[in-house]
Amino acid sequence: MVPMDNLHIHHTDYTPEIVFDADSGILRIEGESYHEQSMVFYQPIISWLREYLSQTDRTVEVHFNISYFNTLTSRRFIEMLELLESYDEKHKGRAKIFWHYNSSDVDMLESGKEFANETYLAFDFVPA
């Protein structure tokens, strides 16, 4: 099997930085996310994740560190969480989600909890 390349996408005003490290299994999404066509931005990221999870069996940590996301983005996050949930079921608890938020941002904490409620994945909430 061909080893996966890391995925690194620089941030813009309306799309987050993506740093997916295949070797360490640490995947980070950081910044703002309000692309008007979330599919255009997230499709390659979701494809990378799907491919990666099909070839690895290591512990995978996904760090969401988002200051703002729109409703279209939330649909893409749900799709990513679904992929991670299947992986976690197959490999017995090897996917972990870290939800980073600014400690004064009650909305972002609530959003994270709502995602957590929609999946069996372990969510760690990390205030900054």
């Binding site: 008007e36 979330s38 200051s67 729109n70 409703t71 939330s74 709502e114």
Partner: protein, 186 residues
């Protein structure tokens, strides 16, 4: 004395009075491009002092602008995006107790019924009801022929903690003008 030399049809004076009387601090008409949103984000970040409120306000602007981007019946070709993008108008104003974000755009007349029903239904829901409804719709697959997430109106009601204000005026047999008015407590 009235001075009318090459008088424009657009009255800057009326516009000035309208925006001043409604404390409108930001008004934009045109293609709701990504760049416009980023500029509005920059402008909003400087105020209000409350960071959570500023972000809620921005979230409301984003969802309204993206409704226009995807669903406005009036579209204009964007050279940069190489596609047609919805055209509309957005204003941010305030009263003593609220910030008010309004959006306006042309819709097809037959869409009025669906929008009215959706807004009326959302306005019957309380905080928990809105949360559950959003969760339920978000789980449904995205509609194949519609680019939006189908949860924008619910998000507007949740973020604003107020009912959705809307108004639909017929323009002609085929088109109507939709105004959405979202207020958020200061």
């Amino acid at each position: 004395m009235q001075i009318t030399q090459n008088a424009p049809r657009f009255s800057m004076h009326k516009f000035y009075s309208d925006v001043r009387d409604n404390s409108v601090s930001l008004a934009f008409q045109g293609i709701m491009s990504q760049e416009v949103l980023s500029l509005i984000a920059l402008a909003l970040r400087r105020r209000p002092d409350n960071e959570v409120l500023a972000k809620r306000l921005f979230g409301i602007v984003v969802e309204l602008a993206q409704n226009i981007y995807h669903y406005s019946h009036s579209k204009s070709y964007s050279e940069k995006d190489k596609r047609d993008i919805g055209v509309g108008v957005i204003t941010i104003g305030e009263t003593a107790n609220h910030y008010v974000v309004n959006s306006g755009n042309i819709i097809k007349a037959h869409e009025a019924d669906h929008i009215t029903k959706r807004c009326d239904f959302i306005n019957t829901l309380d905080k928990e009801g809105l949360k559950e409804f959003q969760k339920q719709v978000r789980k449904e697959p995205q509609r194949p022929d519609r680019p939006g997430a189908n949860i924008g109106l619910i998000e507007l009601a949740r973020r604003s903690s107020n009912t959705l204000g809307y108004n639909i005026n017929a323009i002609d047999a085929e088109t109507s003008f939709l105004t959405l008015s979202i207020k958020i407590d200061k």
